[in-house]
Amino acid sequence: MRLLLFLTPVLLAQVNVPYERILNADAEPGSWLTYSRNYSGQRYSPLDQIHTGNVSKLRVAWMNQANETETVQASPIVADGVMFITKPPNIVEALDAKTGRVLWTYRREIGNDFRGCCGRVNRGVAILGDTVYYGSIDAHLVALNANTGAVRWDVVMADPKVGFSGTGAPLVVKDKVIAGIAGGEFGVRGFIDAYDAKTGKRAWRFYTIPDKGEPGAETWAGESYKTGAATTWVTGVYDPETDTLLWGTGNPGPDWNGDGRKGDNLYSSSLVALDPSTGKLKWHFQYTPHDVNDWDSTQTPILADGVVGGQKRKLVVLANRNGFYYSIDRVSGKFVAGRPFVKQTWASGLDESGRPMRLPNTTPTEAGVLLYPSLGGGSNWYASTFSPQTGLYYVNAKEEGAYYIKGAAEFKAGSFFNGGGQRPNKAEQPWGAVRALDVVTGEMKWEYRLHVPSHAGLMTTAGGLVFGSNGTSFFALDASKGDLLWRFEAGGGIVANPITYKVDGKQYVAISARHVLLVFGVE
């Protein structure tokens, strides 16, 4: 922050991203303005300076380190030459996107009452105008001056003492900041919030679990809706054509013991389509009714168009943690097609409405029942990508089974409310693959096998590339064939999504590995 005092007034007004720029993100491919670059969730970049022919010359340009034990998982935002990242434990930082030099740092204290299921991880910020929005680890939404890091407003989203936490990047739509919430392991009641970008006043809240008397309430036995989780911890997408916000929801709670919550448990493990101005539900699609396997469906859905039966259709697609790939009509919310994209042993298939047909003896038991995929899922929160250039959907697939265990579940605010878990299947080595799927049907076109499953996201570019990670390696594949073109040993586990951007005419690729943000450019 001190630095800025000495900069010229021109630089002080450096960052300004009005809504029109976000809406037309494709007009400035050098920027990365939302979690997934634009509203489609495709994580595809039109930049092509780095391509199949020169990617082998990619080298580290600069790095930024965190001083904490947790992994950096942020997907950066890049606008007007500045990169905005979050890092553990509760930090937002602005960096010069060309040199990596720090412009300002915002650090928040975390109270001793912080719970959090899985470490103090965070996946990025949102930007509108000259304000950066951060859903903090302790469940506040904080607005920061993008040019100085000064706090503009700070509102409480939810109580961190009972397990709520901000881990996902917010999404700006028009004049509102939309934010999801984490805490699904603590028996909270999930929601999606919208706040006025100027004032921080809450505009609406959509509870992912209906209240008594509302439609869907009948899908929860007794009072179980009060502790039903269905949190919203990964950033959703927005479809400007239909003015619809699409957001994934997490597992119902308790995760592995469904005895106390008989019913489908709407809208857990679902996709919800909302009116972004009011938060009213337009439609929903539930991937895993009465989920007892912790198969959150929070991963970012992808808006893509496909040809179905000779007709062009507006689709929303995703490879779900439950092992099935789905394409859904994003106007009506109706199922179009789906099939497994990894080995799965819990359903005989999907019926014509897209509902899985669960096989007998596939619910967790005290002794453990072997099922595929494992609770980590066929894929997880990390990004899949769609390239309009190849027409293919790319997913980081995980081939692994596990013994699902049912345990006791007793609700106590702020304590884990899981009711079981999993035991690894020692008889088999889990493995992974980057798979390229037909965007409508999910049919596999090629795969690039990975020695162990990957827990990181993918990105495609107009340079004909798919960027991905495996363990401690970051790599690039040929998007049309899956051949390995480049790799880099990062020396620390990669649990993040890549992005790409351009400053001063030069394209860069960024990925976080363990405690380090790495930025690459061609020499």
Binding site: R115, G119, N251, E366, I405, A408, E410, G419, F475
Partner: protein, 245 residues
Amino acid sequence: MKLALFGAVVLAAEVVKLPTGRADLAAGRKLYENQCALCHGQTGEGGRGPVLTKPRFARAADDAALVRVIEHGIGGTEMLGAHSMSEREIRQTAAYARTLGRVAIKPVPGNAARGAELYRTKGGCAGCHDAGFTAPALQGVGSRRSAVYLREALLTPESAVPDGYLLVTAVPRSGGNVTGVRVNEDSFSIQVRDASGKVHSYWKSELAELRKQRGVSPMPSYRGTFSEDELTDVVAYLASLKDSE
């Protein structure tokens, strides 16, 4: 749930009181039988994991430490954390595990000194375990493994292969096969330590073939080589190889 692998945040409690009620112990027993017996035996007699029928656990001196061991496992060993258990279930299991120790422990039979002699002489064990580089070190094996397991390791070595141990043969395109123990591997490369201790590192693209000998052990079976008494003595010797506490 967000990937359990990132580890839950530890909420340290200073003094842990384990439940003592009948229902809690019954619940703990069931949890133990479902999730621990696999390695520690139905009644704590041990197996892949150490015997738990003892008054004191080396790695879990007090109840707080025992709860920690069950919750988080023991880093770098086959003892994993019970991520699936609630705080209460962990305490129930811990309480039950403590009751296992009330059973009088039977000392491992046999003459450990004679076993040590056989280890060096007739068994030829030292050639692999102390001099070579392809066999795992046996320091502390008596703390890690039960006598039943150790006996099994001598009779059917391939049924008692430690996690992560894998014998591989790498065949580079340029010629010259290397067989040894896998040190590390990812999608792109593999490192193999041969019998002389030399580490060979290959890009997978350089290899014509990579053979993984899963479930295969280079260790000979001692069935028939050792008499019943000798076997008992060698097991007694191995069981005496404890971690320094």
